[in-house]
Each structure stands twice: as C-alpha cells, then as structure tokens.
Amino acid sequence: MKYLVLLIGDGAEKPWPEQTDSEQAAAMAKFGEFDAACAAREGVELLAGEALSGPSDATVMRTAADGRVALTDGPYAEVIEGMGGFYLLEAPDLDVVVELLRILPPYDIQIHPTVDVTP
C-alpha cells in the first residue's frame, strides 16, 4: 500500500525554533535514522519526503462554481497550522508504517493511505 504521512504537529516535541543546536541535531539524526530504516526494510520504499516552510508562506486556492479563483494566505485550517513536513511511502501495512515512524521525533502524525485511480 502507498501511504501519505503528514507531520501535522509538534506533539510532544519542542517546536523547532525553540530547540537548541544540539536538540536540532538530535532531531535531524532521527530523520536520518528513519530514512535508513525505511531503506533497510523489505517491502518499504520512501517515494518522497519534504519539510514544509512556515504556515505564513502557504496559500489556499478556492475555485467557485463559476470558475473564479480566490486565493487567501495561510493554511486551510488551524488544525494543519503546524504541519511541518510529509512523506510518501510504500509499505506492506499500517503496523510497519507505525513501527518505522516511531523512530521520528514524537510529532503528531496523520497516516493516510492513497488509492489507485489510474484507469
């Protein structure tokens, strides 16, 4: 199965800007460890993964029924205000995804399977 993994909030982790250099280095090491664990695990493949810039850089695009496009600044909803990054990965099942994600800093994470819509 293919999963979109959204790092939607800091959770038990101290917000990035408040972290000391050594704390940031420790968090980065966990991301590296996660990459390595995914690579080592049979049936798992990291297809994409990026950190996101701050919510003030996000733009919401809405298209009305008449085709008019309205742009507003900021994220879509407060709930994803803190979204810091994402992964797209292939994994055999939910348990494998959760097991691997335990390596990351203790963020709040949404795990969302994708569906195949290719004809």
């Binding site: 049979e42 049936g43 055999p92 099942d93 939910l94 494998v96 097991e99 795990i111 399977p113």
Partner: protein, 402 residues
C-alpha cells in the same frame, strides 16, 4: 460450531486475505450445513466440510470478480505479496505463527475505535450473532451491523495487517486485546435503559474471548489478570437481580454465586506470571480482581475486610486513578470508618452523566441521619438514572426515608 468459527475465519483469511468475502462465505457454508446435514447426516469432519464449502464460495467469488471487473482493486496485490516477505522478516522467529492470534490482533487493533474492535472480535473470533452484539452494546441491530461492516472496511482501507507484530510491540498489542475484551465485558453490566437481564449473560462472551487468547499465549499477564477479574465479577450474576429488582452486594444470596469461577480466579491470581513487574494495565486488573476476591471469598457481608479493601483501592488509585475508583473507595471507607468518613472521601467527586455519586451520597447521608439532604441527593440520582431496575431501587430507598 461456535468453537470452530474463529479458527475457520482465520484459516480462510490466511489463505485469501479477503475479509470482505471470508465471513459471508463461511456464513453461506453454515447455512448450507443447516439444510443438508439434517437430511444427509453430519459429516465425519464437520469443520473440514465447512472449510471446503466456504473455500469453494470464496474461489467462486474471486473468479466472478476477475472476469467481471478488471478495474476492481483486489486485496491480493503485489504489495500484499510483499507483505508476506516483510512479515516473515519482522517476526522474531520466537513466535509461533498462529492464524487465530493473527485474527484476534487484527480485530483488536489500536487503530480501530475500541467499541468497533470489541464488536468485531466477538463477531469474527467467536461468531457471536450480530443481534446479540447489538444488545450487548445497547444499539439497534442495523446500527451494529453497519458498525461491523465499517470496521471491516477500515481494516482493508487503512492497511491493518493480519499478522503477529514484532516481539517488541506484542505486549502493547495484547494489552489492547485485553482492553477490548474488558470493554465488551463491562458493556453487559453497563446501566442500560431497560431491565434486560440477559445482557449480563452476553458478558460471558468476553470471558470466552480472553480464554481463546490465553489458549494461545497462556502466561500473558494482562489476560491472566483480566480473566480473573471478569470471572470474579461475573460469578455474582445470578444473585444481582431478584424479581426484576437489583440486589445489593451485602444482601445477595452468596450460595447463588458461581464458586467454581471464584476458585478459578483465585488460582489465576496466584499465577507466577503476575508475581514479577507488570504493566500499569495489568496491575490495575490485578488490584480490581483482588478487591473482587475479598468480597467473593468472605462467607458473609458482615465479615468483609473493608480495611483491606480500602488499602487495595488506595493502591489502585495510584496505578490507575479514575473517578469511579474514587467512588468505590469512598463506599469502602464508609463501611470501614463510618458514613461521615465516607462522605469526606466523596468530597468534590463528580462523574458526568452518572447517577452513582449522587446515589452513594444519598445512602451515606441517610446513614448519617441527615434525612433532608439524603432526600435531595436521591432526587438528584433518580433524575440522572436511566436504568429501570436501578431507578426503581433508588425510588424505594428515597420513599423509605419517610
């Protein structure tokens, strides 16, 4: 047949990985058996007969699907075949691959809502009819049928595996199984809106679920402690109600308790696996079971060792603090040290949507001779109570104040 249900579901799932087809196919096979066995005689190997019939039905459905809808996503994709490889790697090798354990762990997965996990476990592992599960959880049958269907869809959609997890997370997962079983158990004793006494009998299905898992993992502390706790609570079922009225613990006919179940629970509590360090969940089950055992092994209500029970509640509140444990402790304090001490222990305690704190306060105020305050507390409890049997009891208590 019911004993074989979980094993057959598990074997079919192991072979086909199609949760959406397996249960229907087995249901069809059972239905066919109920038609043909009375005429042709019961086959030499009934379970094997059902397995063959169900397997044939799944294969028929798969064939129809393959022909009719090439676009329809099959569960058995390349990713699924990968899963086999990944799983074998992940298993530490010390675990016996057991299809029934895989089934239990799938049904009681932490990614499912607890009540959905409970319902699904009773349905798939034990074959409890949906109508009975609906009555246990106090919802209409179509609601429960929809809930079970949704849970099955979620298992497929979210990618919840039919697998035994890594040894590192297995204890956590078995804790979830225990919590799932206990939720189903307590549902049978939850105050409902009517006097449906059979619901307590349905709680016995949760005991059966715990036994199935213990059959696979005999020394699992959480399940040993939980089984002891459930047996002790369940042993009083026949004495709890008389002529449609609730009978308090002190007034129950102790000869009607199931003493064989009490004896089994006492043996379980002495199990070596509970002697060492255990998880907080297991510790809370052990303490609740020891409290229940104090009651169950005392010959008469007058001889109850309330001092020991208060001590056990003190420990329980440290391991797993909860308003209902505080309430129960207050009752024990009142028995041990008098109504005024009990009222002190109740101070500030509230449980949303529950009539119980008010009911206990009313009883203790009445014992302390504060009749007016007691009457007001009974009124409050009666207004909040949604169970017919309990409301009748509370009304009688209030009217007896004079």
């Amino acid at each position: 047949m019911r004993e074989e249900w979980g094993r057959l579901v598990a074997l079919l799932l192991a072979q086909f990985r199609r949760l959406d087809l397996v249960e229907d196919a087995l249901g069809d096979a059972v239905e066919a058996a109920s038609r043909t066995w009375p005429v042709d005689g019961v086959p030499a190997n009934p379970a094997g007969w059902l397995m063959t019939a169900a397997r044939r039905r799944v294969v028929d459905r798969l064939r129809t699907e393959a022909v009719a809808a090439r676009k329809q996503p099959m569960l058995l994709t390349d990713a699924e075949r990968h899963q086999e490889g990944a799983r074998t790697m992940a298993d530490s090798g010390s675990l016996v691959e057991d299809d029934v354990l895989r089934l239990v762990l799938m049904c009681a997965h932490p990614a499912l809502a607890p009540e959905a996990a409970g319902a699904l476990s009773l349905r798939l592992v034990l074959g409890v009819p949906t109508a009975d599960i609906a009555r246990l959880f106090l919802v209409p049958e179509p609601t429960m049928a929809a809930r079970i269907t949704r849970a099955k869809k979620r298992i497929v959609g979210a990618g919840i595996p039919f697998a035994v997890p890594d040894a590192a997370v297995l204890p956590d997962r078995l804790d979830t199984v225990a919590q799932t079983a206990y939720l189903a158990f307590t549902a049978g004793y939850a105050p409902g809106t009517g006097p449906d006494l059979l619901r307590a009998e349905l709680s016995g299905e949760a005991i059966r679920l715990a036994r199935v898992v213990l059959g696979l993992r005999p020394d699992e502390p959480a399940l040993v402690a939980l089984l002891a706790l459930m047996l002790l609570q369940h042993s009083r079922r026949d004495a709890r109600v008389s002529d449609g009225r609730l009978v308090l613990l002190a007034d129950q006919d102790r000869t009607r308790w199931h003493h064989d179940e009490v004896a089994e629970a006492t043996r379980l509590l002495a199990a070596p696996c509970l002697a060492g360090p255990v998880t907080p969940l297991t510790a809370s089950y052990v303490l609740q079971a020891r409290i229940a055992a104090e009651h169950a092994t005392t010959p008469s209500a007058e001889e109850t060792r309330w001092d020991r029970i208060v001590g056990l509640y003190d420990l329980l509140l440290r391991v797993a603090p909860s308003p209902s444990a505080r309430l129960a402790r207050a009752v024990a304090v009142a028995e041990d040290r008098g109504a005024v001490a009990g009222l002190d222990a109740l101070e500030g305690l509230e449980i949303p949507d529950s009539h119980r704190p008010a009911a206990v306060r009313a009883e203790l105020l009445s014992r302390a001779g504060e009749t007016d305050a007691a009457r007001a507390a009974y009124d409050q409890a009666i207004a909040a109570c949604r169970n017919d049997v309990e409301r009748t009891f509370l009304t009688a208590q209030r009217d007896a104040l004079g």
